[in-house]
């Protein structure tokens, strides 16, 4: 177990700055997942921790020791690559044993280690095969075995599951989580898949264009996204965003021809005219007709997606605005039906579109 401390980390390629002053503390034994869209610098950050990229400015400390100038092999870390990077000419056994051999470990010791590790990953029967003779999932296990076998104090994963099919990905995810509970090693895991992030992580770091948007537990990220970006990135399907303003202590949705308002607290805001209200699809209710006294927005069903347990409704409001609604109720609705969307204001997230930040106000609405 080791902790990793990133201090004002900067990485530039030529005059392009890929990582802007990232600071973060990864605790011992923590499963930290780094997520973000393609090209946001996830791999770059991970490879800097691994020592495969140089650090332009700032420090990386593993267990308190600054490792900026230490070779990857001396950092006591292991990495699993996206395309496995198994040595094609070596058997599974040799792939796993290679690192140990270079560390001058004795033959019998290597034997027992490989056995032990192969049992853990259930690849004992594959030891004599070459990587070419393995399935994708098996290769992934071998790649993990190659990392585990050295008993490093930190594991780094760069999108290790993205080459697998959906079903296998799910089962590997569960196994990986199990592996972490058993080994209790610090793990840093890069992915662009927010589902993987939510299910695996102790904490998630959301990265956008080389900057940290938010670091927090999956629950915090889901319940209290600090920026529009995080709100949009975490959760599937994506959060709905509606333009809103506050008039006379009420929150009014900016939807033409349709008035709907909610009580808003009396708080001084510099800008009350131009707000963004985020609502998760599962926090909107769908009605065929409105009861008296109930408020709702009228729309037309554009598309229905049945996922089995849940159903997604894509509602077309007037003027090119759309809402996504997720419900587990089985409603007798058809495509093109006219429906009403109902809201509960305590589930609203309010953002300032100029800064992209969450407004403190959000907590106080009710």
């Amino acid at each position: 177990m080791a902790d990793i401390l990133l201090e004002d980390l900067v990485k530039t390629y030529g005059d392009h700055e890929a990582i802007h002053r990232i600071s973060c503390h990864i605790k011992p034994g923590e499963f930290m997942v780094i997520v973000g869209p393609s090209g946001c610098g996830k791999s770059t950050l991970l490879r800097m921790i691994a020592g495969l990229e140089t650090v332009t400015r700032g420090n990386i400390r593993i267990n308190g020791q600054c490792v900026n100038r230490i070779e990857p092999k001396d950092r006591d870390i292991a990495m699993v690559f996206q395309n496995y990077a198994l040595y094609p000419h070596m058997t599974v056994f040799n792939n796993m044993a290679y690192g140990l051999k270079l560390r001058k470990m004795t033959k019998p010791e290597i034997q027992t280690r490989v056995r032990e590790c192969a049992d853990l990953l259930q690849i004992g029967h594959l030891l004599d095969r070459k990587p070419k003779e393995l399935s994708g999932g098996q290769r992934q296990r071998v790649a993990m075995g190659r990392a585990i076998i050295r008993k490093p104090s930190v594991f780094l994963f760069d999108e290790p599951l993205s080459n697998l099919d959906a079903k296998l990905r799910q089962s590997m995810r569960v196994e990986l989580k199990g592996l972490h509970t058993r080994l209790k090693t610090t793990m840093v895991y890069v992915t662009h898949d927010q589902v993987e992030a939510m299910t695996l992580a102790d904490r998630i770091m959301v990265l956008n264009e080389g900057q940290i948007e938010q670091v927090g537990t999956p629950d915090v990220l889901y319940e209290r996204p600090e920026t529009i970006f995080t709100a949009q990135f975490i959760g599937s399907p994506e959060m709905n965003f509606i333009k809103a303003r506050i008039v006379d202590q009420t929150l009014v949705f900016d939807i033409k021809d349709q008035g709907i308002s909610f009580p808003a607290p009396d708080i001084e805001l510099s800008n009350t005219e131009n707000l963004i209200c985020g609502i998760r699809p599962e926090h909107i209710t769908l009605h065929g007709a409105l009861d008296s006294g109930q408020a709702g927005i009228k729309g037309r069903i554009q598309l229905i997606e049945r996922l089995g347990s849940d159903t997604l409704y894509y509602i077309d409001l007037s003027h090119d605005r759309r809402l996504t609604i997720k419900t587990h109720l089985n409603l007798p609705l058809q495509i093109h039906d006219e429906v009403y969307a109902g809201f509960s204001p305590d589930r609203f997230h309010l953002f300032d579109p100029a800064s992209g930040k969450r407004l403190p106000l959000s907590e106080k609405i009710t």
Binding site: A50, L52, E71, P72, K73, I77, A78, M79, F81, Q82, N83, A85, L86, Y87, P88, H89, M90, Y98, G99, L102, R103, K132, R146
Partner: protein, 282 residues
Amino acid sequence: MVEQKNAAFFFNHAVIILGIIVICFPLWITFVAATHDAVRMTQAPLPLLPGDRLFENIHTVLFDGVGNAKEQPVWLMLVNSLVMAMSIAVGKICISILSAFAIVYFDFRFRMCFFWMIFITLMLPVEVRILPTYEVVANLGMLNSYYGLSIPLIASATATFMFRQVFLTIPDEMLEAARMDGAGPIRFFWDILLPMSRTNIAALFVILFIYGWNQYLWPLLITTDRDMYTIVMGIKQMLEAVEEAPEWHLIMMTALLAQIPPIMVVLTMQRLFVKGLTETEK
């Protein structure tokens, strides 16, 4: 439809058979000639069926020599050729793979400059720079030696380009994984890079061996000592017998023997060779 198919079938096969005849008939004639005696070879018509002197001819050629190269038995020429072809093939591969390794995996100053300098040697085969090269070799006292025969031909890193391409197809993660495992550059080269380019090395070896074996002009220029004659130029010398008619049966036998080593190389390396030229999966 069926008739059309048949027509295509016959046409294709006719072309194939014709091609085989064009290639094999001279070989057959060579073989037949090599099994007769000198007298039969001067009579018309030339024989089309093998005679009975195959083993005697082999023995004569290998150990006694032919024509005005009488003092040099053919086995010596074969050895000379073998040493030359081997040194050229092995030497070129070693130099090329090392320079490709440096150019692909190390970041040093003027890297591209070196690459292009190596690349330019592609345009300067030995035939182009033959006089200056001769001068250099003569000054270094390497005439009539294996060094003189092979080094100037090794000294063009034609295969660097090919190895560079091979290394570029090896994913970067392979190097990174090896670094994580604790392999330094030399370990990486021996344990990962070399085994991974095994088939390419084999393919290149076949090509370069034959290239070296077939060298004619260069050995002709720098070997005056008959003990250093290579087989390809040796055959030519045999034709220039002054006082008597060429001993066709023995010359043919020599030609036949000269073909054996390249064929052996191709046959033994065939599987790797094909893989090396066609394999893309890494």
